[in-house]
């Protein structure tokens, strides 16, 4: 019992945020229920992002009824690679990534050859709500296939690594690079076994990582060091994340982004209840940073000033950036 108390005090001193605090002080306080559909439906997110001029993977088309499945050819056009997703899918289910065409058929990213009919069946399944939580009718989204930047080749296993930045009222407070592993099956979700690697907000240099709640420095599949990697175009990511507040109106979100080989940073999706493992990846508590941002907001409010995304990024980079590398 005493040991627990000591742990409690130690975690508190380091500003580690627990689920209860996240829910009570951040999710419930800053995220209005009525705005949830914006982040839950990827199509709405995308429309909003486009309207706000924020970079997202290009949307080729939406299929919302069985009849519209006939338009699939028209939507795909001559493209040889594309992605089909359920708009309200969760956990990466129901996503079909087509990498190439092969003699009138399609080749998925994992090498499987499928026919046009099979794709149509997949879309039909999406529409009936097979992949949406709760089984509601859903829409299928056909969009640009992201090709991850070469920089991640050495430190990821299959799949698309993404970058998660937690944004409080438009201020990015913590960032993490999520790397799929063999265990996570190419998915970038930490609870499925992906690696989270902390990122210095100012420089874009990776820190140490977390894998299944432990602190690690090497990728378990490739054994390459995950720390000390310079993420390209880091300021672009930061600005993109900071702009998401204006996009959705939710005050506490996790912004998931990818680095496309050609198009640079793109927003994949927003999450209204971002996980807490990012703290282990960064070896730093969220509460300290969120309190600093809240203090800043209060000061700005008193002065009657609002900051632009660029100013916000500058503030957090000066405040939380330039973490000295840890030994060991």
């Amino acid at each position: 019992m005493f040991g627990f108390w000591k742990t409690w005090k130690a975690l508190e001193a380091r500003g580690i945020m627990g689920i209860n605090r996240r829910n009570a002080d951040y999710v419930l306080k800053y995220n209005k229920r009525s705005l949830y559909p914006i982040v839950d439906d990827k199509i709405i997110t995308k429309e909003r992002a486009l309207a706000a001029g924020i970079h997202v993977p290009e949307m080729y088309g939406v299929i919302s009824t069985e009849k519209e499945i006939d338009k699939l050819d028209e939507i795909i056009g001559g493209r040889s690679d594309f992605v089909i997703k359920p708009a309200q899918g969760a956990g990466g289910d129901g996503i079909l990534v087509v990498a190439d065409r092969f003699e009138g058929r399609y080749r998925t990213v994992s090498g499987k050859i499928i026919s046009h009919e099979e794709i149509e069946h997949q879309i039909s399944s999406i529409l009936t709500g097979l992949y949406s939580l709760g089984g509601h009718r859903d829409r299928a989204l056909i969009e640009y296939r992201v090709v991850p930047d070469q920089i991640f080749k050495s430190i990821s296993y299959e799949g698309v690594p993404d970058i998660r930045i937690i944004v409080l009222m438009g201020y990015p407070v913590m960032a993490m690079l999520r790397l799929p592993t063999r265990q996570s099956g190419g998915k970038a979700n930490l609870h499925q076994g992906a690696i989270g690697v902390g990122v210095d907000l100012a420089t874009g240099l990776t820190l140490r990582g977390t894998w299944l709640n432990n602190i690690i420095t090497k990728h378990p599949d490739t054994t390459n060091a995950v720390d000390g990697v310079q993420l390209p175009n880091w300021d672009g990511f930061m600005k993109l994340a900071a702009g998401c507040y204006e996009l959705c109106g939710l005050g506490y979100i996790g912004v998931d982004m990818v680095l496309d080989q050609e198009k640079g940073p793109l927003i994949l999706e927003l999450n209204a209840r971002p996980g807490l493992n990012i703290q282990i990846a960064n070896d730093c508590g969220l509460t300290l940073r969120t309190h600093a941002v809240e203090a800043r907001l209060e000061a700005l409010n008193a002065a009657g000033v609002t900051e632009t995304p660029e100013e916000r990024v500058k503030f957090v980079q000066e405040m939380f950036g330039h973490i000295p590398p840890v030994e060991g």
Binding site: D25, K29, G91, L130, I215
Partner: protein, 510 residues
């Protein structure tokens, strides 16, 4: 934000204070027992009347029975008599039973039985009594002796109370010549009481003879004489032998006045013997019985006022918030992962039907089989509603099969399965399989075990009889519970499992 916190604090305070005060009122003012086991003495008093009837005369027996005015309440009263007419009437604060028969022969035995208990509610009923009386006329030496006795009594007393005590003490001093003269060689208690009455009447202080029965089990006894006087507010009781004031709590007032306990017309050798015994009774049942026999209906507006069957339903219902509280603590304070929020509570309710051990086994078997069916259905790519319907039907068939087998094997326990809520099982299977697919088998297993654990714990706590009694009797406890839940709504400390989850931070420190 701050105003919200203040608002919440005020709300919690109001709820908790309200809950505590209502419960305290029930316990301390209404005197409702805190535990079911608290029992009260239940007295069973039999008065056996024996006499020899005259062969030719009609018989009429009159006997005083307790008026039960204040401290005791009767639960049951019966007059056991063959061929006798019975009537009860009240005269001057006494109650008298009259048995009558046109003809009777030989030895007769009648019974009067009274079941009573101490009164629950402490409300005092206003009593009335005389505060003045005329002197009993005495002449000659008695008058002089009485006045000689009264002089020191007056000197040594301050008020009516001490005056009476003093008078009784003086009367009991058998060496005093004046007393000797007044007693005239008869130092029996009734006679002494009469002398006391005489003395007091000269001072215009009214006293009354009170005949009491001692509530002691298995002891033969005769009515005990006490004196009482009204001081304007209340009756004061005095022991005519010692002058001691105050009636002990175990005395039951049977009748007052100078008359005999029993009068018999048309008979002789009348004799009354008392026998008492006591038994204990579940306090709330006693309170209920008392309630039916009095006007004080403090249980009228409690859940005990409901029909018995509804009461049983409510006994389960009032425990649901307790179960939810257990889940709340397990999830938000401990950090245990369960399927959904209230599924464990529903499973805990289902355990009521099956018993814990058997319930866990059943739950595990049915869920495991259901999951394998669900994973097969997954290949068929069905829509949700048809899929759920298939799983539900499968669960029903499974339950039927288990019931049949266990019946054939002679295990009656298996039949209780029929009531194991199927919808709960179906939903559990569905959610578990979603969890399985989204987060892997390990996580699904963890969640399933967490759910079973939470359900078992909730079931165990929800079936503690003392707790059921307490919550059912004092439903205001639920307000305190709501207060706690509200407070939990803004709890932002760590969950116990998070201390383990974030252990990596502490290792890094070293």
């Amino acid at each position: 934000m701050r105003s919200l916190t203040l608002h919440l604090k005020i709300l919690i305070t109001i709820l908790v204070v309200l809950g505590i005060s209502v419960t305290a009122y029930q316990i301390f003012v209404l005197g409702i027992p805190v535990t079911e086991d608290a029992t009260d003495d239940l007295w069973n008093i039999d008065a056996k009347v024996e006499f020899v009837a005259n062969p030719k005369d009609p018989v009429k027996i009159q006997m005083f029975v307790p008026p039960l005015s204040r401290d005791f309440v009767s639960l049951n009263e019966s007059f056991i008599s063959n061929n006798y007419g019975v009537s009860v009437n009240r005269i001057d604060g006494n109650r008298k039973v009259t048995w009558s028969a046109r003809r009777a022969k030989g030895n007769q035995t009648l019974y009067y039985r009274l079941v009573l208990t101490k009164r629950y509610s402490g409300e005092k009923v206003k009593v009335k009594g005389p505060t003045f009386r005329d002197s009993i006329a005495v002449e000659g030496p008695e008058k002089i002796a009485a006045e000689a006795l009264l002089a020191p009594i007056r000197q040594h007393s301050a008020d009516v109370e001490t005056f009476i005590t003093e008078a009784i003490k003086r009367t009991n001093n058998l060496n005093d010549d004046n007393v000797k003269l007044l007693l005239a060689g008869d130092p029996s208690t009734p006679h002494k009481a009469k002398i006391v009455e005489l003395l007091l009447s000269i001072a215009h202080v009214p006293v009354e003879k009170v005949h009491t029965i001692r509530l002691v089990a298995d002891q033969p006894q005769t009515p005990e004489l006490w004196l009482r006087s009204f001081n304007g507010n209340d009756w004061l009781y005095f022991n005519p032998e010692t002058g001691e004031q105050g009636l002990p709590a175990d005395r039951l007032l049977w009748w007052t006045g100078d008359e005999n306990l029993i009068t018999v017309e048309g008979g002789k050798k009348a004799m009354v013997t008392f026998s008492l015994n006591n038994s204990e009774m579940n306090a709330i049942r006693l309170a209920k019985l008392t309630d039916e026999n009095t006007d004080a209906n403090f249980l009228e507006y409690s859940l005990y006022g409901l029909p018995l069957q509804t009461q049983q339903t409510f006994m389960i219902m009032v425990m649901i918030p307790i179960g939810v509280l257990v889940i709340l603590i397990l999830r938000n304070l401990i950090g245990l992962q369960t399927l959904g929020t209230f599924t464990p509570v529903l499973i805990a309710l289902a355990f009521r039907e099956t018993q814990l051990g058997f319930g866990i086994v059943l739950f595990t078997i049915i869920t495991a089989l259901g999951l394998s069916l669900r994973s097969y259905l997954e290949h068929l790519k069905l829509q949700m509603l048809p899929r759920l319907s298939v799983v539900l039907t499968f669960v029903v068939v499974l339950i039927a099969a288990i019931s049949l087998f266990s019946h054939k094997l002679g295990l009656e326990r298996g039949l209780s399965v029929a009531l194991f809520p199927m919808v709960i099982l179906t939903m559990t299977i569905e959610r578990l399989s979603i969890t399985w697919e989204e987060r892997g088998a390990n996580h699904a297993l963890k969640v399933a075990i967490g759910t079973l654990f939470a359900a078992s714990l909730a079931h165990l706590i929800m079936s503690v009889p003392e707790l059921i009694y307490f919550v059912f009797t004092f439903p205001a406890i639920l307000l305190i519970l709501v207060g706690f839940m509200l407070a939990m709504g803004r709890y932002r400390g760590y969950r116990l499992t998070e201390l383990v989850r974030f252990k990596a931070f502490l290792k890094a420190d070293r």
